[in-house]
């Protein structure tokens, strides 16, 4: 199956047949994966005499992922070069990176980081779309009292699916597309440190998506995105296993990607690209993936323990058999809190990156900004207990957790100082990316401040478990996270795709989204303040009015989605070609041509002599290119930059 594709030479004159194109590709991956899953499921079903649906399903999911990888050709290299005990030749590596394969390279096990970046981008947008359908269903149901459109169990499943799909999409949304496409070019490398692991991380995510869709046909899951243990374990229909496996496979994908990104940035920076000259986006992505390395293993373990409780009837979380649900809560939130910073840090870094370019001014206090991102990352690991203030677990720890949580506001404040100072007295070219950055800042102020209410024990006492919490995390994850993603999307689209998105539609997208977003979630803040709990399939009469208002504003958000989709579609069809340096940015990706060549830099790798934020600075004196951690000395001004 794999031999024809990999042994073809690059000077292939005639068109390849359809079968040759399809094998190996995602199509063969799906076919082999489905066949493998069905066969294994039948075997396990026979072994358990049909009595343990959870076991059958768990085996089926595992087999699906494994055989999908076989079918897409993930193991071909291992077999060919590992057992053959030789290194791949340069031509073979280029072949694997998609050279000469045209658009098919996006549907194959391709190692080129630019291909993987675009694959992540399309998948992220698709996940957002599916998640938004869940969101609009939720707002539809909550627009009026009573369980009118969906039964409560369907609604609960929709809430859970919206949550977990959006969380997964938000975790990958900046590090996936831009971390893969842009970061290697930004640091002056030709590809990532582990190109084949790059393909692995993407295809694991791709194989993961059908797993969560199957829950719809297996009874759904009733727990919401947090998957709290006694409820998740008790569920008899097997839809809950889909949730657990969705997370287990995703955790593996993220860990692989994280190791790849960290190694790339540590080892493959070009000459002169010291840590002190690194663009802020790289800092944001690296800190985010480092944080995810602490967080995701715990998430994965918690889900493996739930699967064991369900399949093997262990009792990690079952009080009746000696377990305890607080164990699950601590494991989950030890992951869950750093995870939101995994989401937000790259978006904040994008905001900083974009601000410098469009204000034509270096980031105000660049080292202070990087320090604030580091401070946020470090603090975020020790605050998880604020989710457990009223769980009954370990009340004496409430005070230290409250202190740590409130301390995070200090580096966050420094971040705002840096960005406000960047815009102050700049020459601001207000483009669509800038609009989204302004959205990030406005929304993150509101999100961050409302977090203080939840961190403070007396106010959390009236707000915990209510819609105030929901509105707070939407303001931070969507308002700052997703808006940051869109800032990066509009900013890097001309480089990734080579075409110019329509700016009028981009502005329309922003305004519809921001106004709809503010209206929806400020109404939900109010609903939470007057006491509405979360996860309400049935809206009780006292909360009807704010919910109706929120649903009306959500229509604007829906409209903004379609405006954005329309923009992308017409740009692909007949968009203007973009300039190689569309915005006048100074980071390395704007120095390469568009479309970016296979090995990124035509000719030799660049040598870096300064940070990319030296707008308005005089030309630096020629200095030793092996610069120290300090930024290069300027003739007249002070040292910091």
């Amino acid at each position: 199956m794999s031999q024809e594709a990999t042994t073809e030479t690059t000077l292939q004159p005639q068109r390849r047949g359809l079968m040759q194109e399809l094998f190996p590709s995602v199509v063969s991956g799906i076919i082999v994966g489905v066949v493998g899953a069905v066969v294994v499921a039948l075997i396990v079903n026979a072994l358990t005499q049909g009595g343990n649906q959870d076991a059958t399903l768990s085996a089926a999911y595992t087999a699906w992922v494994f055989f999908f990888m076989v079918g897409i050709g993930a193991f071909n290299d291992v077999i060919k070069w590992g057992f053959g005990r030789r290194e791949p030749t340069h031509e073979e590596e280029q072949q694997l990176a998609g050279k000469g394969q045209g658009l098919w390279r996006y549907f194959r096990w391709t190692t080129d980081h630019k291909v993987v970046g675009l694959q992540y981008l399309i998948t992220t947008l698709l996940l957002f779309f599916v998640g938004s359908l869940g969101a609009f269903s939720i707002r539809l149901e909550q627009s009026m009292p009573g369980a009118r459109f969906f039964t409560p169990s369907t609604y609960n499943t929709i809430v859970g699916m919206h949550g977990i799909i959006m969380i997964v999409a938000a975790v990958i949304m900046v590090a996936g597309p831009f971390g893969n496409f842009v970061v290697p070019i930004m640091i002056g490398a030709r590809d990532m440190a582990f190109p084949r692991l790059n393909a692995l991380s993407y295809w694991l995510l791709f194989a993961d998506i059908p797993i969560i869709i199957t829950t719809l046909f297996l009874g759904g899951f009733q727990t919401g995105w947090t998957g709290y243990a006694p409820l998740q374990v008790a569920q008899l229909t097997p839809g809950a296993d889909a949730y657990c496996f969705f997370i287990i496979v995703f955790a593996i994908s993220t860990t692989v990607a994280a190791l790849n990104i960290i190694t790339t940035v540590m080892v493959l920076r070009t000459r002169g690209m010291t840590w002190g000259r690194l663009p802020v986006l790289v800092w944001g992505v690296v800190l985010s993936v480092l944080l995810s390395l602490t967080a995701f293993p715990t998430f994965m373990m918690s889900q493996i323990m739930v699967v064991m409780d369900r399949v093997f009837q262990t009792s990690f979380f079952e009080a009746a058999f000696g377990g305890n649900n607080w164990v699950y809560e601590h494991l989950f939130w030890f992951f869950g809190h750093p995870e939101v910073y995994v989401i937000v840090l790259p978006s904040l870094a994008v905001a900083a990156e974009v601000s410098a370019v469009f204000a034509r001014k270096g980031i105000f206090g660049r080292r202070m900004l990087v320090g604030s991102l580091v401070g946020i990352s470090l603090l975020s690991v020790i605050v998880w207990g604020h989710h457990l203030y009223f769980s009954g677990s370990n009340d004496p720890l409430d005070a230290p957790f409250m202190l740590d949580t409130e301390l995070i506001s200090i580096p966050t404040g420094v971040f705002f100082l840096a960005l406000v100072g960047t815009y102050w007295r700049g020459k601001i070219w207000v483009t669509v990316p800038v609009l989204f950055v302004v959205g990030v800042l406005v929304n993150f102020v509101i999100g961050g401040i409302t977090g203080i209410y939840l961190a403070d024990l007396p106010t959390d006492e009236i707000l915990h478990g209510g819609m105030f919490v929901t509105a707070h995390f939407h303001f931070t994850l969507v308002g700052a996270g997703v808006f940051g993603f869109f800032a990066g999307f509009y900013y890097w689209f001309p480089k990734m795709v080579g075409k110019r998105l329509n700016p009028f539609l981009g502005q329309l997208h922003f305004w519809l989204f921001e106004i709809g977003f503010l209206g929806t979630f400020i109404s939900l803040f109010y609903a939470g303040l007057i006491g509405e709990p979360r996860w309400q399939a049935n809206i009780a009469p006292p909360f009807a009015v704010p919910n109706t208002i929120a649903s009306l504003f959500a229509i604007l958000i829906a409209a903004s989605v379609f405006v954005a989709v329309y923009n992308v579609v017409i740009t692909f069809r007949r968009g203007e070609p973009a300039l190689a340096n569309e915005w006048g940015g100074k980071t390395l990706e704007w120095t390469v041509p568009t479309p970016v060549p296979l090995e990124n830099f035509p000719g030799e790798l660049p040598v870096v002599t300064s940070t990319p934020y030296d707008y308005g600075e005089p030309e630096p004196a020629p200095s030793d290119v092996e610069g120290s951690l300090e930024s290069p000395l300027l003739p007249h001004s002070q040292a910091e930059s």
């Binding site: 105000f364 206090g365 100082l417 070219w429 106010t459 009236i462 049935n538 308005g616």
Partner: protein, 260 residues
């Protein structure tokens, strides 16, 4: 970010005489809007927040009001500086030359860290003091004990001191008498929450958790709901909390079959 914090740049020209003092203008806008915002908030807060019906929830509401008073100038700082920058420092087309670079002085950075640090410390100390005041009261023999059991999807209530259970979906409480809720669950996690009284605690299977001792101060009808996702009918897990005077409470106990 005063004028003094902007370092001299080698390429800049001296500010034109007509150029307004941006920093002073934005500072005035910020101060004026903050004052207006705080006054508006203090006037409107009693209409926005639900009535506090216990000693705990009045402290919680006060904390909410104080936090918002502090939040308004903090949020406006970002909004006003950003809005001003976008209005007065924007260019219509791609700019052709760079403005002078701005670098923060160490004084600004340390001052900023100091102010935010003090704010943060104030929030923490307020929160700790308020919370420990609320939770310090221990149960006395006078404290009414209500045992709460959560089970999908209803709360059931026992009054062990009177040997009686509530016969329907109601908790009856006497006003001005301290009460403590002792909570557990039969099946999965539930969240026992009475918004108006300012108490909430999770109901865990196999564990017993307690709320702080709370004294209802206002007669009225309130609700207890479930704030932790517990399955199919989670959103219907909702019962009444009636705070009445002591003689009505005693009659109610007798009606349920107990002896006051």
């Amino acid at each position: 970010m005063s004028e003094a914090n902007i370092t001299a740049s080698t390429a800049s020209t001296a500010p034109a005489e007509q150029e307004p003092n941006h920093f002073r203008r934005v500072l005035i806008a910020w101060i004026v809007l903050s004052v207006v915002g705080i006054v508006l908030w203090i006037v409107l807060a009693p209409f926005i927040l639900p009535a506090a019906a216990s000693n705990l929830s009045s402290t919680d509401d006060l904390t909410f009001i104080v936090l918002t008073v502090l939040a308004i100038p903090v949020a406006l700082f970002v909004f006003v500086f950003l809005a001003y920058s976008l209005l007065f420092f924007r260019t219509r087309e791609r700019p052709t030359e760079d403005p002078p670079p701005l670098k923060p002085r160490p004084g600004l950075q340390i001052g900023w860290l100091g102010v935010t640090g003090v704010l943060c410390l104030f929030l923490f100390i307020w929160g700790m003091v308020a919370y420990y005041q609320e939770t310090a009261a221990a149960a006395t023999p006078n404290t009414l004990i209500v045992q709460v059991t959560g089970q999908q999807w209803m709360w059931t209530f026992n009054y062990p001191q009177y040997g009686v259970s509530s016969q329907s979906q109601v908790i009856e409480l006497p006003v001005n008498r301290p009460v403590q809720f002792v909570v557990t669950s039969e099946d999965v996690l539930h969240g026992f929450a009475i918004r108006a009284l300012g108490v909430r605690v999770d109901a865990n299977p196999g564990e017993i958790t307690t709320t702080p001792v709370v004294t209802p101060t206002q007669i009225g009808n309130y609700t207890v709901n479930c704030v932790e996702m517990c399955g199919l009918l989670h959103s219907y897990m909702w019962e009444a909390v009636n705070v009445v005077d002591s003689s009505s409470f005693n009659s109610w106990i007798i009606n349920q079959g107990g002896h006051p």
